[in-house]
């Protein structure tokens, strides 16, 4: 299955949940937020929302800014 993570197309296992994706990336779920196809995925939904073929996933964090 192909999906786009932060603008990069990646080959991912079918049925991958958001929570598993973050774990595989090695990202602590508390320091990020996730959107799938322009909709925010609530933290409580990380283990139930699955990434599908062609999905666009954004994973963001807080950075320096004014």
């Amino acid at each position: 299955m192909k999906a786009t993570i932060n603008g990069e197309t990646r080959e991912l296992p079918d049925g991958l949940t958001v929570g598993t994706l973050l774990a595989e990336l090695g990202t602590a779920p508390t320091g990020v937020a996730v959107a799938r196809n322009d909709c925010v995925v609530r933290r409580s939904e990380y283990d139930s929302v699955r990434i599908g073929e062609g999905d666009r996933v954004e994973i963001i964090k807080a950075v320096a800014g004014g």
Binding site: A33, A35, V40, E58, A64, G65, G66
Partner: protein, 264 residues
């Protein structure tokens, strides 16, 4: 020198300092945290960006902000459309568990002036979605009034272009915006040094948001302290009510009972 009894109220939030500071452009994180402490600020801004997939475990700005002391005001900086700004705000809300958002929708990369149409559209959507919206806006009394009418919790007109340090370029517009506003007016962008901060506060605005004016100083920690005092001084001068300006001198010492010496 606390701000006792003179809190800045934004929506349901009360801040004991009228200075809001950024987290960008500091030479180091140590300098930033020391500057934040020296500024006396109680609210700091952060930006929202994609994580680096090549280093997804890296630290984030949240590792450097004491949330017991500081409210975090995430921004939508870098967004050019209402759609991107709204999604960024919603991501920030999920990340930070806050309804606060500094709405910034840029219309032009060189001036970094806001796009009024996109800002208004995003503000309407975010207010309806329950956000406490603080929009960055031009020094335009009409746009400020429209944002207020949409339900924004404050308006944040620029004093000069972002990062320019040019100071309060149009004090008359800022004064008109303040006179007409019923929500807090926070001057956002353009303050370069302490006198600029004092001038803005003397115009009666409710607060200042600054980043580069502190972060790009030779000594950011010392400048942060200077800004703290400038905001306090300007605020007190505004509350005190300045004397009337007059064209000719008016002696401060008595004009009678003067001694006389013999003139040769």
């Amino acid at each position: 020198m606390a701000n006792a009894g003179d809190a800045l109220h934004i929506g349901r939030y009360a801040l004991s300092s009228r200075l809001i500071v950024g987290t960008g452009k500091y030479p180091s994180m140590e300098t930033m945290t020391a500057a934040h402490a020296a500024s006396g600020a109680r609210m700091v801004t952060v930006a929202i960006r994609r994580i680096n997939l090549d280093d997804p475990t890296g630290k984030t700005m949240l590792d450097y902000i004491d949330r017991e002391r500081f409210l975090i005001l995430p921004n939508t900086a870098g967004c050019y459309t209402a759609k991107d700004a709204v999604l960024t705000a919603r991501l920030a809300r999920e990340l930070l568990e806050t309804d606060l958002i500094k709405l910034e929708v840029i219309g032009d990369a060189q001036t970094l002036h806001p796009d009024a149409r996109e800002t208004l559209a995003a503000a309407e959507e975010l207010v309806a979605d329950g956000f406490t919206v603080l929009p960055y806006v031009g020094d335009d009394p009409v746009a400020c009034k429209q944002l207020e009418e949409l339900g924004c919790a404050a308006v944040m007109p620029l004093a000069a272009p972002i990062g320019s340090g040019l100071g309060i370029c149009n004090p008359y517009s800022i004064a008109v915006i303040k006179e007409r506003a019923t929500v807090p007016v926070i001057v956002d962008a353009g303050v370069g040094t302490a006198s600029d901060a004092a001038i803005a506060m003397e115009l009666g605005v409710d607060g200042l948001l600054m980043n580069t004016g502190i972060a790009a100083a030779r000594d950011p920690v010392l400048m942060a302290e200077a800004m703290k005092y400038a905001v306090l001084a300007g605020r007190r001068a505004y509350l005190a009510g300045r004397m009337k300006k007059r064209l000719y001198a008016n002696a401060s010492s008595p004009v009678d009972d003067l001694i006389e010496s013999r003139h040769a």
